[in-house]
Symmetry: C2
Subunit: 239 residues, 2 copies
């Protein structure tokens, strides 16, 4: 049976099959080895995600096989400032950690053998957020999200991962190592450009490899074309 990867998260997961998206790139990479299942919920924070978790996972796994891995990628909305335009998405830092623990506990209970990979919220470029929300460049305004707040949630996510012993991708730090990440990796100060998607994709591939899930180690589904003998093709199919 082909192993499955489940992608659970907010809009950065839901949009991961747009051109250049990290979810599509994973599907492409493991096209002959694994199935990628998309469970992205735009705008959701961990509080809402926790409410819908069992329903969100309907059909995500076969009854008789746990997925190989699930990515849990929330925090960008939780980190919305509690006194700005997106205040209703805010979840306090403590509750964010409690919710992450509960989401992980749900997966551990339901799919005991599934590897849980946490992903921190990404960095934020505030001027682009102001432009996106208010339609103007206006440095006197306050963005609805700040990079500093996102960084606190990233640290909180890393702390939960360490506490539980799960792998974590610190995309908040990683992305900021890239030149001009503000515009090269982010399209609107929050969501990912194809370059930003590629940064996350590379990190997910590395993390999957660290738990033994890689293109090199997974068996391929059915004979590959270059292994089929042109002089006797049917041999590859047991005929």
């Amino acid at each position: 049976m082909r192993p499955r990867l489940v992608l659970f998260g907010d809009s950065i997961t839901e949009q991961s099959f747009e051109p250049g998206g990290w979810g599509a790139a994973l599907t492409d990479r493991f096209a002959r080895q694994a199935d990628v299942v998309l469970r992205g919920l735009s705008g959701y924070n961990t509080r809402w995600a926790l409410k819908v978790l069992p329903r969100a996972m309907e059909g995500a796994a076969d009854a008789d096989a746990d997925p190989a891995a699930v990515t849990v990628f929330f925090g960008a909305n939780d980190a919305s400032l509690p006194d700005q335009l997106q205040a209703h998405q805010n979840v306090p830092l403590d509750e964010y950690q409690t919710n992450l623990r509960a989401i992980c506990a749900y997966f551990k209970e339901r799919w005991p053998s599934t590897a849980i990979i946490l992903i921190t919220p990404p960095p934020i470029y505030e001027p682009a957020r102001i432009r996106d929300i208010y339609g103007v460049d206006d440095p006197s305004r306050q963005a609805e999200r700040t990079n500093e707040a996102a960084g606190s949630y990233a640290q909180a996510c890393i702390a939960v991962a360490k506490e539980l012993g799960y792998p974590v991708i610190d995309i908040w730090t990683k992305m900021q190592e890239f030149p001009d990440w503000q515009s090269s990796a982010l399209s609107d100060g929050l969501h990912f450009t194809p370059t930003g998607n590629k940064i996350l994709f590379d990190e997910v591939v590395k993390t999957l490899a660290s738990i033994g899930f890689s293109k090199e180690s997974l068996p391929s589904d059915l004979p590959l074309y270059h292994d089929i003998d042109p002089k006797d093709p049917m041999k590859a199919f047991g005929a």
Copy 2:
């Protein structure tokens, strides 16, 4: 339970999650409504596909729910010329039809309620095939595939679809209606550019709509962000 779309075919299906790919675009379009399952087998013709069909479909559907639809997209390899470099991929026209009927019969038997959508082989641009196969532009050489042969297989596929009463996408004809299709839609005279992927994506979306599977008619999985009341978000989650 989310409905499923299964994509079954050769390399043009296997590569459909590359940037701009038609499979990724379907996943993105139905991100909150359906799961797309990739079963692409590069280089395969209908003879080989038929041999592996039950194994290829392992994990493609839940035991208790037929997929909503399956695309069957073979013929580009069957139509390889029997006296050229890819002769071992060739399947005679009659056998191609017999194999298509057998593939459809398998799906009908296994998944009685699943809509089967046939897709014809795409058009071929021979000069680009010569360049791809022999590494040079050489009009004195013969390509391993011709547009004329692909057209015959497309007609044969349409005939099978009519005989069985299944919807069919004639991508051979459709693609040739686009200006400069030879280079705008095809990357190497056979596989699709993002523009070619978009042409097929649009046809698949139209055909799915004709069988009642559309963004407008399918329910969305879980409350959408714009339906969540900022003043009382938890109301959307029954709290």
